[in-house]
């Protein structure tokens, strides 16, 4: 168990090299096997994880460039643990669902490489290492969209790449500056996050650094108005790309908010609380409206992702354990749900080679199983209690209520508007009479699709009914982080707000 | 007094000569003016006490370089007037003058701001050629050798470039032209 984190990060990379030798026919089997092993490794990590320990565990530290404090530093805590498991799980599921024939070997290799970078992002405790993984993750996704996409794939791929890349360029400056600040404060260089956590920064510095990091994360999330790359990327990406993009890659942004922005710049985070919350609310409402107007199924889900990410951001900036824990849980649940939804759209796209809603109608008659699974996942997307979607949404909104009730009300309209676009989509695609001749011969789900979808549906229900083990583990780390924020805050206002939102009772 | 007269005379002459080089439309005039200018420049070197440099200037430029140009000119058969269509005259002059001013400014800036310590001070009583020899064969020995190799390489390159082509038959030249 000592080097399990390195194992988890680099196992897919090692597998990638073997992947070049594997024959074309067995490429998918190879990919699934590797992803399965990787998933089991992450489960082993969970089993070995000490649930009562809020700090970083399984820490591995090897100095790389010691005079500048750059090191190979991995660790996992309650916040990142489940995101790692989500990454490995969604990779596994997306590989199972894979049915692209073209260049399958290269695709599998690309996906495994992507898995390495995603896991690396969540496990890195060194900022330089984090940045490397963060940027590396763009490359496989660029290939997936650009090489296996449809329509304007090159445009979409380049847009995706440049957009996110430009966003993170400023972050690099921020990282270097923060490293320099650390050097000034302590006399030694360090880029390790636990070291940085101890660094108390003056308010003005925090503001600038928050801004620099914010842009990178906001593009990744994606926050309004930096979201336009997402519909294109999803629109052109193959199913597997969309699944990984929506389920895991978007979470990198919100994870980074929780991991960096809040504990490193507590005062700036509180200072920018309302602007960020307003953006989040715009995301929720605006994206829901745009989703409602879409004609393409996949775009509906793409915009719904933006809407849900808005609630995650809101929960994050609730600054209390309820909200942040809820936001992290919502990341997991949105990963599962959006992954499942994209997979479901992929199912119908494989059969009809179109995603336009108007091309369908009455599918419930011909594909009842498909409709049932779609229905369950849709209900989770809408946030019905006892599905996985409810827990996170409820906690996020609950948490933010303490900050501002009116904004919560506005963001809460998301649950109405979410129901509107999802139900209308469901009605138009599945209900009504089966009119189109092309649809009459459609086959219901086959074995491959079932194996990929059943675990997701099972998780939707199981985690909806019994989220407690996950919530507890997250919660303990989140509480520790909030205590840290409170300690580090330099302004009395910040401390006051943190105290207020983290306590129950009293009048408004 | 003599120095002042000599300086101004040389200056006016050199500027005049180079003016002809730059503005003349006849290659022959230009080349002759260039040769003249080169010799006159050596006058500055003598004025400045750089005897060795003056000698080298005359030998190398007027002797070797100008001879090469003369041969080249004969080769190109460009004794006739050259028609050049020159655009953007204003830009050219502005740019030139600006750059010249800036260069001078830069050159002067360190001199007037801080005193420069002489690395290889001239020693009174020792001749200029002697001093140069001393420095060239001690401190600058390697650059000197490298310069020698460079000259050798340039010589070989010049020979190779021109010679091979001369051996070509006129028809080959025609073909080569056609290819372009």
């Amino acid at each position: 168990m000592e080097h399990i984190l390195s194992l988890i990060v680099f196992f897919p990379l090692v597998a990638v090299f073997f992947g070049f030798i594997v024959s074309k026919e067995s490429a998918k089997t190879f990919g699934v096997t590797v992803a399965l092993v990787e998933f089991l490794l992450s489960i082993v990590l969970w089993i070995g994880f000490d649930k009562s320990n809020a700090g970083f565990q399984f820490v591995e530290y090897v100095p790389l460039i010691s005079q500048f404090g750059v090191s190979y530093y991995l660790g996992v805590d309650g916040i990142s643990l489940f995101l790692v498991i989500l990454s490995t799980f969604m990779t596994l599921v997306s590989l199972i669902s894979l049915n692209i024939k073209k260049d399958i070997k290269n695709l599998v290799i690309t996906i495994l490489f992507l898995e390495m970078t995603l896991v690396g992002v969540f496990l890195s405790l060194d900022m330089i290492l984090f940045y490397i993984f963060w940027e590396l993750s763009l490359i496989p996704m660029l290939y997936i969209i650009g090489a296996w996409g449809s329509g304007q794939r090159i445009y979409a791929a380049i847009k995706f790449f440049l957009y996110t890349f430009a966003g993170s360029a400023l972050m690099l400056v921020g990282i270097l500056y923060l490293g320099y600040q650390y050097y000034i404060a302590t006399g030694t260089w360090s880029f390790s996050i636990p070291d940085w956590y101890l660094l108390v920064l003056p308010f003005s510095t925090q503001l600038w650094l928050f801004g620099a990091f914010f842009l990178a994360f906001a593009v990744k999330v994606p926050m309004f108005p930096f979201h336009t790359w997402l519909p294109y990327a999803h629109g052109q990406a193959p199913t597997v790309g969309s699944i990984l993009l929506a389920a895991v890659m978007l979470k990198m942004g919100t994870y980074a908010f929780i991991r960096f922005s809040l504990p490193l710049f507590p005062d700036a985070s509180v200072y920018f609380l309302y602007p960020v919350a307003i953006i989040a609310i715009i995301m929720v409402i605006y994206a829901s409206m745009v989703a409602y107007a879409q004609e393409d199924m996949k775009q509906v889900i793409a915009y719904s992702s933006i809407s849900h990410m808005g609630i995650i951001v809101l929960g994050t900036f609730a600054m209390n354990a309820e909200g942040i824990t809820g936001a992290i849980f919502l990341m997991l649940s949105h990963g599962i749900v959006s992954g499942a939804l994209f997979m479901l759209v992929g199912v119908i796209y494989d059969r009809r080679h179109t995603k336009m809603i108007s091309e369908f109608g009455g599918l419930a008659t011909i594909m009842p199983r498909y409709a049932a699974i779609f229905g369950v996942v849709m209900m989770a997307a809408v946030g019905l209690p006892l599905t996985v979607g409810f827990v996170g949404e409820f906690l996020s909104l609950l948490g933010f209520y303490r900050v501002n009730w009116f904004m919560t009300l506005l963001a809460g309209t998301g649950i109405i508007l979410g129901a509107v676009y999802m139900l209308v989509l469901f009605k138009r695609a599945f209900f009504g009479k089966l009119v189109k001749a092309e649809n009459k011969a459609l086959k219901d789900l086959d074995k491959r699709e079932f194996t990929a979808l059943i675990p997701l549906v099972a998780l939707v229900v199981v985690l909806g009914v019994y989220p407690k083990p996950i919530l507890n583990t997250i919660d303990i780390s989140v509480k520790k982080m909030i205590v840290l924020m409170e300690k580090k805050a330099v302004l009395p206002d910040t401390r006051e707000l943190l105290l207020r939102v983290n306590s129950v009772g009293g009048t408004k | 007094m003599f120095e002042i007269i000599a300086f101004y005379t040389f200056s006016i002459l050199v500027i005049g000569m180079f003016g002809i080089v730059v503005f003349s439309e006849n290659v022959l005039y230009a080349m002759s003016a260039l040769a003249g200018g080169m010799i006159l420049i050596s006058g500055f070197y003598f004025l400045l006490g750089a005897d060795f440099l003056g000698v080298v200037q005359i030998i190398v430029y007027t002797g070797a370089v100008m001879a090469l140009y003369a041969f080249g000119m004969m080769f190109f058969d460009s004794a006739r007037d050259i028609k050049e269509n020159i655009k953007f005259k204003k830009i050219i002059y502005t740019l030139s003058i600006l750059s010249a001013i800036f260069v001078i400014f830069i050159l002067m800036a360190p001199i007037y701001s801080t005193r420069v310590e002489a690395l290889y001070p001239t020693i009174h009583g020792v001749g200029n050629v002697q001093m140069i020899g001393l420095i060239l064969f001690t401190k600058y020995l390697i650059p000197f050798e490298v310069a020698a190799i460079m000259l050798l390489a340039a010589m070989i390159a010049g020979i190779v470039l021109v010679k091979v082509k001369i051996e070509e038959t006129p028809s080959n030249i025609e073909v080569a032209r056609g290819e372009k």
Partner: protein, 100 residues
């Protein structure tokens, strides 16, 4: 009294003359002439600084520059001959192959 400033002014005038040549000349041979002017202008500057500061490095540099000018002429003329044989002209406007 002739000071360093005089020399440097002269250098500047010659240098700008050289640049004018470089900029306005279209005939390659003339262009070479202009570059010679540039080099010589700088040489004077070096020699002058060398004299007024009693440092021989300037002269040494001038010396090397003369060496470089010589090799440049040798190689440059060789190439020029080559080009002339190819295209029949040494006009600058005929050299457009590097168009981006």
């Amino acid at each position: 009294m002739i000071t360093l400033t005089h020399y440097l002014t002269l250098t500047g005038i010659l240098f700008s003359l050289g640049i004018v040549g470089v900029l306005r000349r279209k005939n390659l041979l003339m262009l070479f002439f202009s570059t010679e002017i540039l080099l010589n202008a700088v040489n004077i500057g070096f020699a002058a600084v060398s004299k007024y500061y009693g440092d021989l490095s300037g002269q040494i540099f001038s010396f090397f520059i003369i060496a470089i000018a010589a090799s440049e002429v040798a190689v440059g003329l060789g190439l020029l001959v080559l080009w002339y044989k190819r295209s029949g002209t040494i006009d600058l406007d005929s050299l457009q192959m590097m168009k981006g």
